[in-house]
């Protein structure tokens, strides 16, 4: 079953993304409040997918993505951004991101993106009350 690590400095966004992924049947194995913490966690957890918020203080999401891709070129990463057709998305793709998620989160489209990258979740884990 696909495992996910969430890197986002904002508590609310982290919780919302967590709950959307969880109720769709994905296993969120870790959450990090900063890029530094996220990079450390990714080494031990080796998740199938990492979501990275673009706007974080100190180390922004792009720097995190670049570091992660350098450490492991096979990393599946998605960038979370509120800017739609921004050059930022193009930049993230050049650095190896598999796609992007638009903030504020919308369950249907973000789950479609996640599914494209790591496949469908385990149907047995799906929370029928939410979907």
């Amino acid at each position: 079953m696909p495992t996910v690590l969430i890197i986002d400095d904002e508590d609310l966004d982290r919780k919302v993304l967590h709950s959307i992924l969880l109720s769709a049947g994905y296993e969120v194995v870790g959450t990090a409040r900063s890029g530094e913490e996220g990079i450390k966690l990714s080494r031990t957890l080796k998740p199938d997918l990492i979501t990275i918020d673009l706007m974080m203080p100190k180390m922004n999401g792009m720097e995190v993505l670049i570091k992660l891709m350098k450490e492991n070129a096979k990393t599946n990463a998605l960038i979370c951004t509120s800017a739609h057709s921004d050059p930022v998305v193009d930049l993230a793709m050049r650095y190896g991101a598999k796609g992007y998620i638009i903030k504020p989160f919308q369950a249907r489209s973000l789950l479609a993106t996640v599914k494209e990258v790591v496949g469908a979740p385990d149907p047995a884990r799906m929370n029928v009350w939410n979907f």
């Binding site: 673009l54 706007m55 922004n60 999401g61 800017a83 930022v88």
Partner: protein, 355 residues
Amino acid sequence: MTQVLIVEDEAIVAESIASKLRRYGYEVVDTLPTGEEAVDKAGKTRPDVILMDIHLAGKMDGIQAADRISSQYHIPVIFLTAYADEQTIARAKEAGPFGYLVKPFRERDLYVTIEMARERSRLEAELEAANRELDSFSYSVSHDLRAPLIAIDGFSRILEETYAGYLPPDGVECLSRIRQAANQMDQLIEDFLRLSRVTRAPLLMEKLDISRIARDILGQLATHDPDRKVHWKVEEGLTVFGDPGLCEIALKNLIGNAWKYTMHTDNAQIQVGSLMQGQTRVFFIKDNGAGFPSEKANLLFIPLQRLHSHQEFPGNGIGLATVQRIVHRHGGRIWAEGATGEGATFFFTLPEEAG
């Protein structure tokens, strides 16, 4: 018509106040004897002003009721009470009342107090709305301004790392300037955000060992900058009562400035200490660095004002504005003395005790 709710357990007193108010043209929505009923009624009818006795029938007293009402419904409460002892006043203050009238009071005073409370409450609501708007504005500004900057820096980086071989040396230099400028702007946005957070974040007060915090900051600066030789002296046992996060930001800025502005000074010295000014302890951070023209001391705390060029001393002019806001939020004062080439001293006061 201004609607007033009267909370008073003595029916005769309540009725007498009500009739006076009616004569002044107010509408009395109700007179209630208990705090519990007052909270309930305030929620249901949302009067413009509440006149509240402190000693009431029932379990909840007037101060508790006022506390609930002002935090839940933001309706201005004026205390009307026969008690003016220190303890009651201290407790009443906590509820954030818009007035405190001691019985017996004059009709005219009641009228003026109600009108003032109405006006202040209106202004506060306006201010709160403006602040909320500012919050969401600065949030979106920061996000929308920073995303393109990340793109500018990132694409320049790709050029630098992948295509540097195709560019003449001057082209590579231009790229590094682009990245430098993007990073400067990013830093500026982050500092502005911190400045606005400093103004809005709630204060969590606790006892702080200023001497220890100052020594830690100086130690960190020395570690980051091992080539610098700076003599520093920190007075022992300096304590204040303040918000740990904010006070650390303030000290980091002040001490960091002292460190920065002594970088071209031989025998650089930084002193953290205190002196007594009457009954008040004044803390100071003194250095023997570049200083500033003494007549420009009042410009130091204005955001973006810089008295030195970026080449001479890097910085964006938000640090001291942030420090000033932090000190003011603690109810303290901050000022500076200095002269060009003769160092600078920053003085500030902070609460030394709780409350």
